[in-house]
């Protein structure tokens, strides 16, 4: 059976490798649009910060893929799907037939439609090429502005600061990473990054990017102009669905898939950030890899079903571990707060009717699994006074 995987990101690569292992007599082909071997996107920040070389990022060397019976081709962009003929066409006009097609086209960084958005020096932070470009500009020093204080934006900011640039982060909310952190944890993170020379302007909105032949500054809605020889837009991602839509597959915000990662065409699967499952997109690598496993199992004819766990985000921002899950902005919930000034640790647990419904951990995330379980189990917690102190105390108390 010919299995064609479009997209060599983490999800696509994992799905290709698993399919090769599990589907008897399968011929697996993996197509990557970038001219690079499959690499660890999450580690781009290390590359930017100079903590890693490009080679370190490669997750699947060509020999390994060969050994795994996966035929990998880099720099091959698919432009069209002929579902009736079960054939795809590449930019170079090559036609590739499939029995099963897996779309792993991922997502693209959103570029705000601002005046001057097309000026040289205005970049996204998404792939190797973006990072290479950022490194070139950073080498000249000067001011950088990162638009968007999400995880990727902060990683870009710390990376550029580590490269010696004067970095300012412009964020629309009052504190960074507002989806994963509550205001107090956000404030702790702000202070920590400020010690690394990163300036924050928030809440603030960008109205224009100014410059002549090259970007020179960022104009804010309050009229301020922030000087910048490099602007990184990191205001979110958008699933890459054009290929699927043109092929007439059901598409909403993402390519709609069922629990087995099957699209509206039984011969076509989709995994990773390009998908939409039960009306929800995914933005992190962990669920993407889970989807890849499920799709591979389905291809092998096994009963496979993806069950998303409640949203949780375990992240490392410039050496600081943060984790959050469940409802972290619920006004109706009671809060238990643990603060350790000396260790720069912080926890906020959200309870309703004696049950844990959400949690934010900053600094020490060792108990993340424990709280995740409590949130999932929905049972009334025992020794409330010690809940925030972690599982060891709770176990001893129980």
């Amino acid at each position: 059976m010919r299995i064609l995987v479009v997209g060599a990101g983490p999800a696509g690569t994992r799905c290709a490798v698993r399919a090769a292992q599990r589907v008897r007599g399968a011929e697996v082909t993996l197509l990557g649009a970038e001219l690079a071997l499959p690499y660890d996107r999450v580690a781009l920040s290390k590359l930017l910060a100079g903590e890693a070389e490009i080679g370190d990022l490669i997750t699947h060397p060509v020999v390994e893929l060969a050994a795994l019976q996966v035929r990998f081709r880099a720099g091959v962009a698919v432009t069209e799907i002929d579902r009736a003929a079960q054939v795809v066409t590449t930019r170079k006009g090559e036609r590739l037939a499939y029995d099963r097609l897996v779309l792993a086209t991922g997502s693209s960084a959103v570029r705000l439609p601002l005046p001057g958005a097309e000026l040289p020096g205005v970049l996204a932070y998404r792939d190797l090429d973006d990072v290479r470009a950022m490194l070139r500009l950073a080498a000249e020093g000067g001011h950088a502005v990162v638009i968007g204080g999400g995880l990727l934006g902060l990683e870009a900011a710390t990376g550029l600061a580590a490269r010696g640039m004067k970095v300012t982060v412009v964020h629309a909310m009052g504190w960074p990473m507002d989806r994963q952190l509550d205001p107090e944890a956000g404030a702790l993170l702000t202070t920590r990054l400020a010690r690394r020379g990163i300036r924050f302007v928030m809440p603030a909105a960008t109205v224009a990017l100014e410059g002549v032949r090259h970007v020179q500054g960022v104009r804010l809605d309050d009229g301020r102009l922030l000087p910048a020889s490099l602007v990184v837009m990191s205001v979110g991602i958008r699933p890459n669905v054009a290929l699927a839509r043109d092929a007439g597959l059901q598409v909403a915000r993402g390519v709609v898939v069922d629990d087995a990662m099957r699209t509206s065409d039984a011969a076509i699967y989709a995994v990773g950030e390009c998908t939409e499952h039960q009306g929800r997109l995914i933005g992190l690598v962990k669920p993407a890899l889970e989807q890849a496993e499920v799709a591979a199992a389905a291809l092998a004819g096994e009963a496979a079903c993806w069950q998303p766990v409640p949203d949780s985000a375990a992240l490392k921002v410039s050496g600081t571990a943060v984790w959050s899950a469940g409802e972290i902005s619920a006004e109706t919930a009671e809060a238990i707060i643990l603060r350790d000034e000396g260790a720069e640790e912080y926890r906020r647990l959200f309870l309703r009717d004696g049950r844990l419904v959400g949690a934010v951990l900053y600094g020490d995330t060792a108990d993340a699994g424990y709280y995740m379980r409590l949130i999932a189990e929905q049972r009334v917690v025992g020794s409330r006074a010690e809940l925030a102190l972690g599982s060891s105390f709770m176990d001893a108390a129980a």
Binding site: L338, G342, R384, A385, A388, F393, A396
Partner: protein, 854 residues
Amino acid sequence: MSVTRSTCPYCGVGCGVLVDAKGGVTGDPDHPANQGRLCSKGTALGETLDQPGRLLHPEVDGKRASWDAALDAAAEGFRRALAEGGPDSTALYVSGQLLTEDYFAANKFAKAVLGTANIDSNSRLCMASAVAGHKRAFGEDLVPGVYEDLEQADLVVLVGSNLAWCHPVLFQRLVAARAARPSMRVVVIDPRRTASCDAADLHLAVAPGDDVALFDALLCHLHAAGLTQPAPGLDAALAAAAGARPQGIPAADLARFFAWFAATPRVVTLFSQGTNQSSAGTDKANAIINCHVATGRLGQPGAGPFSVTGQPNAMGGREVGALANMLAGHLDWSVPGEHAALAGFWRAPKLATQPGLKAVELFQAAGAGRIGALWVMATNPAVSMPDASAVRAALRRVPMLVVSDCTRDSDTVALARIRLPALGWGEKDGTVTNSERVISRQRGFRPWPGEARPDWWAISQVARRLGWDFGWDGPAAIFREHAAVTTLARPSQRVFDLAGFTALEDAGYAALAPTRWPVPVPGAQGGRLQPAARCVPTPPRPPVNATSDSFPLRLLTGRLRDQWHTMTRTGLVPRLMAHVPEPLLSMHPDDAGAMVDGALARVESDWGSAVLRLKLDTAIPPGSVFAPMHWTDRFAPAARINPAVNPAVDPISGQPELKHTPVRVLPVPMAWHGFVLARQSLPAELGEWAARLPLAHGVWRHELAGEDAPAAAFARLRAAVTEPDAAWVTLDDAAAGTHRAALLRDGRLLAVVFLGASPTLPARDWLAGLFAENRISLPARRALLAGRPADGPAPTPTICVCHGVSAGSIAAAIAGGVCTLAQVGEATAAGTGCGSCRPEINALLAAAKVVEPA
């Protein structure tokens, strides 16, 4: 290495101590009172030598003054009072803490110099009723027996005496004798099941105030059994006793006690504050003495009534006559010629001609503005007197209040216009007399701190300014004059005779060995006394103030094992504070209603109120509650019990009824309960309710409760202990009212603050121990907020202080099948030390039995 022989400054047992050059204190094996033994307080004496908060310089109107200026001001105050109100507008209120020589000087100053008998002592609160009882029975204030009698008796009856806590060394001697002679019996007569009951064959839980009826009934029983012999007053006593019956004691127990007493010629009836502190205290003493007089069981080995005093020198005060109803040296106004003899000897034409105001009357007179000058020495009436709030008001009203004391931190010193720094134990030099009439030396072995001086010196300096020269060059001279006073107006029946000391050289005084009076000739050693005795009619009568629907409970007050009076000395010793860290109100569970153990409760009477932590205790009889009398503004302002205590007194002795006040007990709802452990002592104002105590490592524990919002209180408490460059670890659960915090610097714990909605909070002991550590790791900080080690069991409070056994270990042993006190002792060693924790162990055993399925 030089060793100083001296005498313990605490209770009336008067134990001899040896003090080494380093200030280490051990029992004196050669002293007749203790033969080397010491109790927990005596053992800790060495830890109380360096007292913070000493008064080191005279002060006038709150400003430091020279001795001359202060003495001039005091003399001027007395002069003005004498001029404006006459002798009886002046007064002294002194203390059983004074040495005999200071006592003598104070008495002479009042009665000879000022010409008033308005000198009374805190002994009035202690054993005035015993004195009056002795005088009625023996014609003189005599304790016939000696301590050996407790060991030679076949039956020892403890009446109103928790000997185990209040006179521990006598109790140790009793327990040792009983162990050596198992046939010996001990009966405890006390409303409470006290620690002393652990050594008793029989405990009669007499109703408060019912002692007279009990001993009247005993007298009738002895008479009916044909054991009485003719004695003066016996018939009248029997007539008054006829039909007397104590309430609430099982008939079988009463019958057994009567039978034992009747069948045992060698019987000692030891009585103390529980008997004396009553509106019928004198009758109680005589009802007891009657039974001994009528059976001739008096002044013989192992037989006699035995009054033990609470203070180290109450007896010395009685001997010099430093009480309003005594003259001096057992001389009495009522005996023709004795007043004249003393007036002549002292060349005191204005010598007081009649008894003066006793303590309660004295402060009532001051409250009424009839006292123009008052000199208080070595005592703290603002705390220790009944109706204490009225006493505070009275002290404020005295135009010239002089206070001589060692400490600057007493509630009474705070009210004084003139403050005179006195010497403390180990500094002053003189004699004391213990409960068996043994005169012992208290010797100084430390330099005088600051400008502190002996009380006798300050007194004679004021006397000099009023035109009197006492002519004393030291305590020996005063002691000789005291001895000489006992020789006046003889021949006489007076047994108290120190003629043998009138010519005692200074060297002989310095080397004086413990000597029991009477000492008619040099070198004499007194023994048991067999005074001509009479029976006194003692018709039973109820306490002055009866319980009612609005005040249904009876408040008893008393002492704790490890505390002394108002804690100015013992309150600074961590291990003495460990026994009972907080002011507790003990109450029988049946009376508690909805109130729970550990909650705060308000004791209210017609006179005042106090708030203490409730301790449910089956050792307390239903209908009564018990509160310790020790706590002061300094340690627990809201827990001072004496403002709630009625000022009723015995009509003869004037001793207040400290052991029977009708009260009600109400829950005190608080918004939060909490505690703070800090490396400093914080002001008590941090909470509506507060109790402070020192712990090891210089840490202070503050137990607090308040009515404001927990979050606000938490912020206030943190602000009170916060320090620069220190970091907080905090836990907030506003919805549950839980707030916890620890303050650290460089891994060293500076403070912890715990607040909760209920009084149930983590054990303090474990947290307090962490103040000794220098490297508290990051994970350990979470443990700080848990109040226990991670993965470890929650530490439980220490029950047995001697062997450091926790409630948890005892509970574990009980769960393991152990079911008696003895077995708990074998399993855990708990209760095998001083034994003061046995009632608590019994409570744990009882609780365990309750939950067992039937």
